[in-house]
């Protein structure tokens, strides 16, 4: 059995409620933290090696230590619960079943950062979870773990839940801050970074739900112990939301030492490819990260087994690797069409671009149109090259990473599945009724000596 630090109690009857959560050992982290110096808590988080679980994997302790602390200016902690990346649904699970774990993590983190008003910005479509969180907040307050003078420590903290209005871009931390301020959710131009000038121009830390929940086990066991779990710079456990053509889609907590192969095929996790089909490709970290064909997914270009962690999934860079991202693990079987899949993603990014900067606003729509053309059998070989050129001109030239997130899936699809694109172009009628299939995408990779 793998280590479970976050979801261990998820199935305890009534764990959503304070009494049960408390009886199971909940809020011990708050009791412990309030007796410490805030700086010592930041130090523990640093020692734990915890990396941001929202996608970029930035070390949480380091982010916390960048927070400016000018005299007389409030500081804010904002929990990013916008979770709108296609394929990612781990925060939803955590908030829905273990709301008190998040609240506990928020109280500890707020104390460490000196935030007296902490916000949870939640995806608008998670409407029913708002009630669950608000109930948990009310219960924590009634029991003195939140509100004025928490546990007699003199520390005050209120947590507010703010619903988004259905925009993926509001998950980008500065767009989120704009939206929280009641403005149009456009990403800000950085610098300044939120750590200096964030919410209402005050120093702000934005962290993902899972990141903040992980602060609880870190507090309970100590940063050093936490860092012993996992491997290399991938410490602790990670929630993976697995979906697509697998037997057991769902949210799994993994120890970042297991291999991708084990994760897909073992009964403890995905339980293999559904309907006895074969694995064709996988997007291992949410829709923004590069798609990999089966062979490169299971082994690195060096022929080593690939592991489910930050470093191993990124091994080989974008040429032969991908990213752990937010942990949205999307599995495609041999019946799936890569062109169509890429079109679906392109449509998403076109729809979700905020439209502020020209490469993303115009480029995303253009890519979608060209992909639509290829997918419907009306493309030309030159369209594939054009697509490549467009994504190249978007990537790195935009205000926020959504531009990159729109470019990468297209780039990776062409990089690894160019044959399939060309097949669509060369077989305009056949591609409407048939599928390119698994082709050579699962063939053993040739490891250069």
């Amino acid at each position: 059995m793998a280590t479970k630090l976050l979801l261990a109690k998820a199935h305890v009857e009534g764990i959503r409620h304070f009494e049960v959560y408390r009886r199971e050992g909940g809020y011990a982290a708050v009791e412990k933290a309030l007796k410490m110096e805030p700086a010592a808590i930041v130090e523990e988080v640093k020692k734990s090696g915890l990396r941001g679980r929202g996608g970029a994997g930035f070390p949480a302790g380091m982010k916390w230590s960048f927070l400016a602390k000018p005299e007389g200016v409030p500081r804010y902690l904002v929990c990013n619960a916008d979770e709108s990346e296609p394929g990612t649904f781990k925060d939803r699970y955590l908030m829905e079943f273990l709301p008190h774990l998040l609240i506990e993590g928020l109280v500890v983190s707020s104390f460490a950062l000196g935030s007296n008003r902490t916000y949870i910005y939640i995806r608008g479509e998670y409407a029913w979870i708002v009630g669950i969180l608000e109930q948990a907040i009310a219960e924590a307050k009634q029991n003195g773990f939140l509100g004025k003078n928490i546990l007699g420590s003199g520390f005050d903290c209120e947590i507010y839940v703010q619903r988004g209005a259905g925009a993926y871009i509001c998950g980008e931390e500065t767009a989120l801050i704009e939206s929280l301020e009641g403005k149009r959710g456009n990403p800000r131009i950085k610098p300044p970074f939120p750590a200096i000038k964030g919410l209402w121009d005050c120093p702000t830390v934005v962290n993902n739900v899972e990141t903040l929940a992980a602060v609880v086990p870190i507090m309970n066991m100590g940063g050093e112990e936490y860092a012993k779990i996992g491997v290399g710079r991938s410490t602790g456990t990670k929630l993976i939301s697995a979906c697509g053509n697998i037997n057991k889609p769902g949210v799994y907590e993994i120890d970042m030492t297991i291999s991708v192969e084990e994760f897909i095929y073992s009964d403890e996790y995905c339980g293999g490819i559904a309907n006895g089909k074969k694995l064709k490709a996988c997007i291992p970290g949410g829709s923004s990260v590069p798609i990999l064909p089966a062979n490169l997914l299971l082994t690195t270009a060096k022929g080593e087994p690939r592991l489910m962690n930050y470093e191993s999934l990124a091994d080989g860079g974008f040429a032969t690797g991908s990213m752990l991202g937010s942990g949205g693990f999307i599995v495609l079987d041999e019946d799936q069409c890569i062109v169509k899949n890429t079109l679906t993603l392109a449509r998403f990014y076109r729809h979700e671009s905020c439209g502020q900067c020209s490469p993303c606003r115009e480029g995303t729509g253009w890519m979608e149109k060209i992909l639509g053309k290829i997918e419907s059998g009306k493309g030309a070989i030159s369209d594939i090259d054009l697509l490549w050129d467009i994504q190249r001109k978007i990537e790195g030239n935009t205000i926020c990473p959504l531009g990159d997130a729109a470019a990468w899936p297209v780039a990776a699809a062409i990089r690894h599945f160019r044959d399939e694109f060309e097949w669509h172009v060369n077989n305009p009628e056949l591609c409407q009724t048939q599928n390119f299939g698994l082709a050579h995408y699962a063939d053993p990779i040739h490891v250069p000596a």
Partner: protein, 365 residues
């Protein structure tokens, strides 16, 4: 005694200048002037918070600073990036910048209707200039260009949403010059548009300035609509006593007739002083104004074709003026549309020139 201003050294395209701390790369480049100045479509020095959006001003920072000489990993928006001491920047000397900027120009023109022949901004349009400098002949875009539902912004301001490049300048202008902004950007992505949400005319006394800040023909002066091409009009500086603004303007005349009033603009195309609606829209008689003299217009601008200031015509041919390049893109449209003929009543032309017209004409050539 004045305190010594702290300065830092920055090198742009191998030219070094001393600039005050806090200067942006773009401002530093403007201090040098000439070709090292990156084009700026959204930045406006007089509008707080502007810039960073269009990405035409991207430059390469090949050395971060004396203290940290590492190059910056990505191209940066020069209008929003502050200089550091010892920073080295490449603009026209960077192939990466040229590649990215060509991309940006292509993106900006992608859905643009190319209706310059019937656009009042033609001749003083920053997108036209940018297109001349960086645009390719022909387009790689083969899909239908985006259109929008028409919104009426009232008797003064004409909105052509299809021409908008979403620079947000008009939004900042309304925020910073008027007490209550009543237009803004609706929707997101490629369907984002300038509108008032509930149809409403823009009537604040300073709202006319959005016309001057708009880099393209998306917001134009309704009282000047289809009256004339700007290059047939003669700009003169004039002033009047005005209760609400400086009263310092440029009049655009044809003969003795005042066809249009705008704020005066500096060499970067930015308004020198904001003017009020009364000066802009209501004072269309020469007798309303004290004329100061001709407005200086760059000889290379199409507006100077009226050659009122210098009677000596430039000796260079058009090709020489344009650095050996034969401008085709926009001139082609002008020639097929015939609107350069001043005897044509512009309001009689049926609809905008479409990309079809344009594509067709280049294919034949």
């Amino acid at each position: 005694m004045a305190e010594a201003v702290k300065t830092v050294k920055v090198t742009i395209d191998n030219i070094t200048v001393d600039v005050p701390v806090g200067t942006t790369i773009l401002q530093a480049a403007r201090m040098i002037g000439g070709d090292v100045v990156p084009p700026a479509m959204c930045y406006y020095s007089k509008l707080q918070g502007s810039g960073g959006k269009c990405r035409t001003c991207l430059v390469e920072v090949s050395k971060g600073s004396e203290a940290d000489p590492r190059p910056m990993p990505k191209l940066v928006a020069s209008c929003r990036t502050g200089v550091m001491d010892g920073m080295e920047v490449k603009n026209m000397t960077s192939p990466k910048v040229e590649d990215a900027r060509n991309g940006v120009v292509e993106f900006l023109l992608l859905n643009h209707p190319l209706d310059c022949p019937v656009c009042d901004q033609a001749g003083e349009c920053h997108l036209q200039d940018l297109g001349y400098q960086h645009g390719k002949q022909g387009t790689r875009y083969e899909f239908k260009r985006r259109t929008f539902e028409k919104h009426d912004l009232g008797p003064y301001i004409q909105l052509h949403m299809t021409r908008c490049i979403l620079c947000y300048r008009c939004v900042f202008t309304a925020d910073q010059l008027t007490d209550k902004r009543s237009h803004g950007i609706l929707s997101r992505g490629d369907h984002a548009e300038i509108a008032t949400y509930i149809e409403k005319s823009l009537d604040n006394n300073f709202i006319g300035n959005v016309i001057d800040v708009c880099p393209v023909g998306a917001l134009t002066d309704k009282t000047f609509r289809f009256k004339n091409r700007v290059w047939f009009t003669k700009p003169v500086n004039a002033h009047r006593e005005c209760k609400c603004c400086s009263g310092k303007v440029t009049l655009w005349q044809r003969g003795e007739e005042v066809l249009r009033v705008t704020a005066r603009k500096d060499q970067w195309g930015e308004v020198e002083e904001w003017i009020c609606n009364e000066c802009r829209f209501e004072k269309k008689k020469t007798t309303d104004w004290t004329i100061e003299g001709p407005t200086h217009v760059s000889r290379h601008s199409v507006i100077s074709q009226g050659h009122y200031e210098n009677t000596i015509k430039p000796k260079e041919t058009f090709t020489a003026v344009h650095g050996g390049r034969n401008p085709q893109l926009l001139m082609d449209i002008h020639s097929v549309s015939e609107v350069n003929d001043p005897s044509i009543d512009l309001s009689q032309i049926n609809g905008p020139a479409t990309s079809d017209v344009y594509n067709h004409s280049t294919k034949q050539a």
